[in-house]
């Protein structure tokens, strides 16, 4: 494990950070940053609330602005264009054709602002000499001061802008890529203009939400907590398939966003979830259980019937194998749900015990036991996914022994926790529960370490999946919001 960590740190993924001059390099900040959390195996991350995400976004913009010295609103559009990869932006800004860069990002070059903008259709302004102008949306003639526009020069009245932006934000859910209202103009509306022109606070809030959402989704080092109703995001220093825990207590894999699924790898889990969701198993069931025609016209064909029976037997065996693993996976998942309810009853028991002359600290073992029970269930659940894809060899036999051992210990622990606790058997039960959970915990560690060792030493052979192990690395990347096509 250690050696792997070393190399990972060396290649700290830049994401939206510039790795070279990063101030809070993970190894140095441990303990300094109060928000920083640490999973058991040295994977630093922090949980950001919505406000902190916005702050993080503002900081990123500031950092770039110190160098490039262009308006912050333009910087945000540029950063979004580069999926918040500062280095890439800097590189293009200083090495490439700036004119083209601004055109691609759909902003007016801030350095050309005062000179005449070329290559852009000049808006045909209906301006009269009397200081009034006609809004091209509502066709109302208004004093010049009531019309406004972006750097592209297309001007509309404030009311129409407000309506236009509201429609885009509320109905079409567009945040980062609202273009100017003029036909054929692709210049983007910056956030300062949106906040100035939109009056309704509900629309403003939705806009801010859209902006932060796209910031998080673009950013490889950020991921929303997948738990429903949770508005936090987790920020890491480099992307890896590691467990992170949100402030809402949900523990998930940073790389794929699923519940933490050690020992199985992301790509296999994804394959498994898809397999369980599809109805492919239905057709397998049909193949395995429906009768195959064994007659050719009126002649019974011995050979053909044999082949057909063979194929059917094969698919029946495959189905049974799948069902075996699936049932166990589902059972642990179901039990895990029950264990979460167990917390409530355990809490009650703990209160009761404290009234029987036991101290708070003395009853904590019960909660700890449920914690460990849940962890074991979760690990066991995913061991069945791992085992399903595993091809048999000496190490896989060892793995299955570990699995069996952990499973029986976990069931025992579960059983103890369901027993009635009375003042007479209390001491005895406490001893038993403690012994058992310690045993469970150690068995869980042994099992996981064995699998991890296998990953390092390449012991595991898989079957039935073509997906490449690192295919997952590309999954969280969401395509840059596409521009509506022109045909």
């Amino acid at each position: 494990m250690d050696s792997e960590d070393e190399t990972l740190y060396d290649e700290v993924d830049s994401g939206n950070e510039s790795s070279g001059d990063e101030v809070d390099f993970p190894m140095e900040v441990e303990g300094n940053n109060p928000r920083e959390r640490q999973s058991e195996d040295d994977y630093p991350f922090e949980v950001l609330s919505t406000e902190e995400i916005v702050q993080h976004m503002v900081d990123s913009i500031k950092e770039v602005n110190m160098v490039v010295e262009i308006p912050a609103t333009t910087t945000r559009i540029l950063l979004n264009h580069f999926r918040w990869d500062k280095e890439k932006l800097m590189e293009r800004f200083y090495d490439g054709d700036q004119e083209q860069l601004f055109a691609e990002a759909r902003v007016i070059n801030p350095f050309n602002r005062n000179s005449q903008v070329i290559n852009r259709p000049k808006p045909n302004r209906r301006q009269s000499t009397s200081g009034t102008e006609e809004c091209e949306i509502c066709f109302t003639v208004l004093p010049n001061s009531l019309l406004t526009g972006l750097e592209c020069g297309h001007r509309f009245c404030m009311g129409c802008w407000c309506e236009y932006l509201t429609t885009k934000i509320m109905e079409e859910g567009v945040g980062q890529t609202i273009a100017c209202a003029a036909h054929g103009c692709d210049i983007l509306v910056d956030d300062a203009s949106v906040m100035r022109l939109v009056k309704d606070s509900k629309v403003k809030l939705k806009y801010q939400h859209l902006i932060t959402n796209s910031f998080v989704e673009c950013n490889r080092l950020l991921r929303w907590c997948p738990s429903p109703d949770c508005n936090n995001a987790v920020r890491v220093h480099y992307v890896d398939a590691r467990a992170v825990q949100c402030k809402c207590q949900h523990v998930f894999c940073f790389q794929c966003g699923e519940s933490w699924h050690d020992p199985v790898k992301c790509h296999l889990l994804r394959h498994w979830i898809k397999k369980c969701d599809d109805d492919s198993e239905t057709s397998n069931w049909i193949a395995a259980n429906t009768k195959v025609s064994q007659y050719n016209c009126n002649r019974y064909d011995e050979e053909e019937a044999k082949v057909a029976r063979g194929a059917q037997e094969k698919s029946r065996a495959a189905l049974q194998r799948y069902l075996f693993y699936c049932n166990r996976y589902m059972n642990h998942m179901q039990s895990l749900k029950f264990e979460h309810k167990l917390y409530a009853s355990v809490k009650e028991k703990m209160e009761e015990m404290q009234q029987h002359n036991m101290s708070w600290i003395e009853v904590q073992f019960l909660k700890k036991a449920v914690d460990i029970l849940c962890q074991c269930r979760q690990t066991l659940m995913y061991t069945y996914v791992f085992a399903y894809y595993l091809r048999k060899n000496n190490q896989s036999v060892l793995f299955e022994d570990n699995q069996k051992d952990l499973e029986s210990a976990t069931e025992k622990l579960s059983e103890y926790l369901e027993r009635e606790i009375t003042s007479e058997n209390l001491a005895d039960i406490k001893q038993k529960v403690q012994d058992k959970y310690r045993y469970c915990e150690s068995r869980r560690k042994v099992l996981l370490e064995h699998v991890h060792e296998g990953y390092e030493k390449d012991w595991w052979d898989y079957n039935e999946t073509d997906s490449k192990p690192n295919a997952m690395a590309r999954l969280p990347v969401i395509e840059h919001p596409a521009r509506p096509n022109n045909n």
Binding site: C138, F139, G159, Y164, T166, T167, A181, P484
Partner: protein, 200 residues
């Protein structure tokens, strides 16, 4: 408020179209259907040098409350044989009526764009797959069919005795005329295959 803008806009646009040069050339027209400017009737002349030349095509234009921030809903009332227009419902596949709509566009630009679409079809982005296939596979067949539809439904010039005869053969068998025309057009005027499709 939005409602107000919509009505105000349409009133102004209405005047604009009536005054425009295109009206003078009899190319486009708009008429009110009701008093509150939510529904209009549009008319486009078939562009010259196309199978639609000489025809007059009627459109249904529905103005949403959120106009001009959302596009008007437009469809052909006059039946037309065109890859980007449904031969059954008259629904139109045109970017500016969907995601490319801009608030600064007007009824005039919409009608002119439709006229341009009639002159230059986009078979790779079809609304009517059958028409688009014919357009790509057999241009001449498409041209004749579109011309026939123009003559039949849009008051265009010239008939097509061969097509008329085939339609009559089907109507004699009890098939409705429009239905017979669609079936024959879809099967490149192959009477046998059209019959088969109608009676299967």
């Amino acid at each position: 408020m939005a409602n107000n803008i919509a009505a105000q806009r349409i009133q102004r646009e209405f005047k604009e179209v009536i005054k425009s040069d295109e009206v003078a050339k009899c190319a486009i027209r708009v008429e009110l259907v009701n008093d509150n400017y939510t529904e209009l009737k549009g008319e486009i002349a078939g562009p010259p040098d196309t199978p639609y030349e000489g025809g007059n095509f009627v459109l249904e234009i529905k103005v949403p409350e959120t106009y001009p921030f959302n596009p008007p809903k437009v469809r052909f009332i006059t039946k037309i044989w065109h890859p980007n227009i449904s031969s059954v419902t008259g629904a139109i596949c045109l970017d500016i009526l969907r995601d490319q709509w801009a608030a600064a566009m007007t009824l005039r630009t919409v009608l002119l764009s439709l006229q341009a679409l009639m002159a230059a079809a986009e078979p790779d982005d079809p609304q009517d797959a059958v028409v688009a296939k014919q357009y790509k596979d057999d241009q001449e067949m498409f041209r004749l069919t579109a011309k026939h539809w123009t003559a039949k439904y849009a008051g265009g010039p010239g008939g097509n005795p061969d097509f008329e005869m085939k339609i009559r053969r089907l109507t004699d068998m009890g098939v409705e005329e429009d239905q017979a025309r669609v079936a024959l057009s879809s099967y490149n005027w192959d009477l046998e295959r059209a019959t088969e499709q109608l009676f299967s």
